[in-house]
């Protein structure tokens, strides 16, 4: 692994999970696998922390959950983004970008 792994803050994890669900229903294991794939191993999701995150965004009404059968034929709980969850994701993405831009500008400023 060439890159350093970064720890995730709770709010950031919620945002990534929402993103993982933006194309359709997924169960927890898939969410984790997707994040690992897309970040090329740069983001280490602690597997144990993933589930509280899923339940938390469910309690907030951003996702709905339903039991189903995964592609490997096993039972799994699938999470689906709600309209509210989609809106939340867009807002958080925008504010995250603003934040990153601002911090970057400050760090790169000269004198």
């Amino acid at each position: 692994m060439g890159k350093r792994q970064m720890d995730l803050l709770q709010g950031t994890l919620d945002m990534l999970v929402l993103k993982a669900l933006i194309w359709g229903p997924r169960h927890g294991y898939e969410v984790m696998r997707w994040v690992r794939q897309v970040s090329e191993g740069g983001l280490q999701i602690e597997e144990g922390a993933l589930y509280p995150s899923l339940h938390r965004i469910q309690a907030r009404g951003w996702v709905e959950a339903e039991w189903g059968v995964s592609e490997t034929g096993r039972q799994a709980k699938f999470y689906t983004l709600t309209a509210e969850g989609r809106k939340q994701f867009e807002e958080e993405t925008a504010s995250w970008k603003r934040y990153v831009d601002t911090v970057a500008r400050v760090l790169e400023a000269e004198a």
Partner: protein, 890 residues
């Protein structure tokens, strides 16, 4: 990630409790399984893969608990929301249902409002008088101290000053002991225009510090101010300060002229403080001379009420024991005055509440019964409606509403109904409380503290909810319990035996409760009427009475009092409407005459008459009050201050002590122990007057001429032609000529004083009659509604009977017969209940037995008659049904 395969629902979402935990476990297990599968796919052996999956997941327990905490919160929030949603739905449904049957709703609300209103009103009094703590700091530490003496039949009697002072100094259980006069003194406030009567209570200097209520302005009286060697000071009540001085903030230090003496104002008490009597104006220190302490009469005269504050942690028993040991010592030390003189204490709250406890609790019980009848009535209405609504319920049940859901719906309706009735009831109760206080006898303790306090409203709310459950639960259970299919099939006709039985028992209960109340009311009413018929021993009509309190400062000699009284009577008797006039040291029925002991000339040494009542009256007294002379003569103008002492005795005394002998001419002496005491000759015997209330036994009494035994506090009685009240201006003018600073106090026709003597009985009888009236009306309406309903249910049956040739009379007999059978069961049960209830009443009854057979028979007959007339109208309607119409009705 590529597209998902379609997923299907495999089970319902978890519904809570252990389900939540299982679901989280399943989810984590699923994750571990997926991880392991993938690891196995890349060649790891199964056991290793499983271990690696666990390792990657981290502490399962931690993750699971975090998920569970979140899920549980979410689950609870959802349940709350659902419950609220259901409630709103049920309420909406209830309102729609109510709109469809406005008559039922109005009837139910009115019934409940009467029941809850009456309960609210009575409970507000019970709360203010019995339940609320006394308005003093740490009131549970306050006790009333009293003396007792078996030789004189004294229990909880007034206390002698010297004894109180010894208790105060010798006890080890009280922080302090104080004493006050048991009666209000009306004194004359002069110095600004017309002399004004003020209501004063004489107290020891430590009175306020024992009670502990801080003054609004200035300071309390001080302990040393009990005695006359300090400056004369006075503390004002808030009401008096506002009324007479416009709430002047600079009142402190001002001098007031009261009974010809000057008192400096040192304090004003806060609003609401008026102890020991309502509407007091001022508290004045005793002003005793310290020389009194060694005088025998300071230990002989019992005229004080004593209050003490227990030291923290001292029990009533410890305090009693300490007080007893002091009393024992005093008995040894002062055998002359303290032989057999015991001492005891009662918690002050209990003392204040005193005799009002039982009547109030009885009234509370009575209104409770009224509420039960109201409940039964509404339950009956609900039941009748439930039958009508059976189809609706069955339909909803068939459409998937669970029993619990339907039950909740019905209970919501009942509770909504109860709350509407309760709200109307509280409004009614507020009026009721006012009416109650207006009717209540003047001596009801703590009247000023009665009102719709939060505790009272809480009681009303509790009564309301309980009522709603009571009248709602049985009908609701019944409606929901009926099998859906059965209810859908049975469209009309027989409505189920169970419903009929329940309605029948409700009617029996209503009638029974009404009988209990009616018997109670009848007994109390009779008791009141008997009391009114008691001969007080004097004639009450057309007599005006007024008090006079002659200041000791202006009339230092009692002889001067006699002179003033004589002159006043001379003037009053010349007024045109006046037939006769008199003065007396105390009016009958007031319970205010002194008692002491006497001996008769010729009795063996040691024989004494004890506890005779002693009053002094002017010669015209017997004529003015119409007291009959039985033997000898009454006083004349010749029996003056200088003339040989004479007395008149009453019939009871003559009978008890001169059995068969002629008392006239014999001589009595008032202080049996005093060999130098003066002998007074008995010149006549007069009829007994009721001295301490109409229900009390006749007392033995000795009367002296006022001129020979005048007192500073006296009563004027004037018999007039016509309305005595019109005489007052002329009386005032006559008095003003003699002493311009003297006001008349407590002016009242004698009739009013007699009415006051029966005020408590009147109040109780009136209230019970009101409650019984409501109960009877409710029960009659209940019976009427029930029979009407039953008749409607049986229209078809009646039609068939008539078609088959039954006569109108037979139908009447059929309908009325069944109803009356139930009524009679109710009357019987009620009579039994009344017998139990009236035993509680016994101590409040006068001249009538609690088991008076005539009363029971009469009430039972009246109830049966009332019920009969309630059944007759619907029965008659049933009998006039046209068979053809009845049969066409499905």
């Amino acid at each position: 990630m590529e597209g998902k395969p379609g997923f299907r629902r495999v089970r319902r979402f978890a519904s809570g409790g252990s389900d939540l935990r299982r679901e989280v476990d399943d989810e984590i297990a699923s994750h571990l399984e997926h991880t392991a599968r993938e690891l196995m796919a890349s060649g790891m052996d199964p056991r290793e893969a499983e271990e690696e999956a666990r390792r990657r997941f981290g502490p399962v327990e931690h993750s699971r608990e975090a998920c569970l905490a979140i899920d549980r919160r979410r689950y609870r929030a959802r349940r709350r929301w659902e419950a609220l949603h259901d409630l709103v739905q049920d309420l909406g449904f209830a309102v729609r249902t109510f709109r469809r049957s406005p008559v039922f709703v109005a009837g139910a609300i009115l019934t409940l409002a009467l029941g809850i209103g009456a309960n609210t009103a009575v409970f507000s009094v019970v709360h203010g008088v019995l339940l609320k703590p006394l308005p003093f700091p740490e009131p549970e530490r306050l006790v009333a101290l009293w003396e007792s003496n078996p030789d004189r039949d004294w229990t909880a009697a007034d206390v002698a000053p010297a004894n109180v002072l010894d208790w105060r100094e010798q006890n080890r259980v009280f922080t302090d002991v104080t004493a006050l006069l048991t009666l209000r003194s009306q004194l004359a406030l002069t110095g600004s225009g017309e002399p004004q009567a003020v209501d004063a209570i004489f107290v020891c200097g430590n009175f306020f510090s024992v009670l502990g209520v801080p003054p609004l302005l200035g300071r309390w009286l001080r302990p040393e101010e009990t005695w006359d060697d300090t400056e004369r000071v006075v503390v004002l009540s808030h009401g008096f300060w506002r009324r007479s001085f416009g709430g002047d903030p600079k009142i402190l230090g001002r001098d007031l002229r009261i009974n010809a003496r000057t008192y400096r104002v040192v304090g004003v008490m806060p609003p609401g403080f008026s102890y020991p009597l309502a509407d007091l104006d001022v508290w004045i220190p005793m002003g005793w001379s310290k020389e009194n302490r060694t005088q025998p009469y300071f230990r002989r005269a019992h005229y004080l009420f004593s209050v003490a504050r227990l030291k923290p942690g001292v029990s009533l028993e410890q305090a009693r024991a300490d007080l007893r040991s002091i009393a024992d010592r005093l008995e040894e030390q002062y055998p002359e005055t303290n032989t057999h003189m015991g001492a005891g204490l009662t918690p002050l709250h209990e003392w204040v509440v005193g005799e009002t406890r039982r009547p109030l609790l009885i009234l509370l019980g009575a209104v409770g019964l009224v509420l039960l009848i109201a409940c039964a009535n509404v339950a009956n209405l609900q039941l009748a409606r439930a039958t009508v609504r059976a189809r609706e319920m069955a339909l909803r049940s068939a459409l998937g509403a669970g029993r619990g859901r339907l039950l909740r719906q019905l209970l919501t309706e009942s509770l909504l109904l109860a709350l509407l009735g309760g709200a109307a009831g509280v409004l009614l109760g507020a009026q009721g409380t006012r009416a109650l206080l207006a009717l209540a006898p003047g001596d009801i303790p703590r009247a000023a503290e009665i009102g719709l306090h939060p505790a009272v409203l809480l009681f009303s709310l509790a009564a309301t909810v309980l009522t709603g459950l009571l009248f709602g639960l049985a009908p609701a259970l019944r409606s929901v319990g009926a099998e859906a299919g059965e209810a859908l099939r049975e469209s009309r006709g027989a409505s189920g035996q169970r419903g009929n039985r329940m309605r029948g028992s409700l009617m029996v209960a209503e009638v029974a409760l009404a009988v209990v109340l009616a018997v109670g009311a009848a007994l109390l009413a009779q008791s009141f009427l008997r009391l009114r018929q008691v001969d007080p021993g004097f004639r009450t009509e057309n007599v005006l009475t007024a008090g006079l309190s002659l200041p000791g400062a202006s009339y230092p000699e009692t002889r001067a009092v006699g002179v003033l009284a004589g002159r006043l009577l001379e003037r009053v008797e010349t007024l045109p409407q006046v037939r006769s006039a008199a003065v007396t040291t105390a009016l009958p029925l007031s319970g205010l005459s002194w008692t002491s002991d006497f001996t008769v000339e010729g009795w063996p040494a040691g024989r004494e008459g004890t506890e005779f009542h002693r009053r002094a009256v002017s010669p015209g007294y017997f004529r003015t009050l119409g007291v009959p002379l039985l033997q000898g003569r009454v006083f004349t103008a010749a029996d003056g201050a200088e003339a040989p002492p004479v007395v008149v005795i009453n019939e009871s005394l003559a009978r008890r002590y001169f059995d068969g002998e002629d008392p006239v001419g014999r001589r009595v002496r008032f202080s049996p122990d005093d060999p130098d005491g003066e002998w007074a000759t008995i010149v006549g015997v007069v009829g007994d007057e009721k001295l301490e209330g109409l229900a009390a036994e006749n007392r033995v009494e000795i009367l002296q001429p006022f001129a020979q035994a005048p007192e500073h506090q006296l009563k004027l009685a004037v018999r007039t032609d016509g309305d005595p009240a019109t005489l007052l201006p002329a009386l005032r003018a006559a008095l003003k000529d003699l002493d311009r600073d003297l006001p008349f106090l407590d002016v009242a026709p004698l009739d009013d004083l007699v009415a006051e003597a029966t005020a408590r009985e009147r109040f109780l009888a009136l209230l019970m009659a009101t409650f019984a009236g409501i109960a009877l009306a409710l029960a009659a309406v209940g019976v009427f509604a029930l029979i009407s309903y039953a008749v409607t249910q049986r229209t078809r049956e009646i039609g068939i009977r008539m078609a088959l040739g039954a006569a109108e009379r037979q139908v009447l007999r059929l309908v009325i017969g069944r109803a009356m059978a139930l009524v009679l069961v109710g009357v019987g049960l009620g009579a039994a209940g009344a017998l139990a209830f009236s035993r509680v009443l016994q101590s409040l009854l006068f001249g009538v037995s609690a088991a008076d057979p005539a009363t029971f028979v009469l009430v039972a007959a009246a109830l049966a008659l009332l019920a009969f007339s309630s059944t007759y109208v619907p029965a008659r309607r049933a009998a006039q049904v046209d068979p053809a119409v009845a049969l066409r009705k499905e």
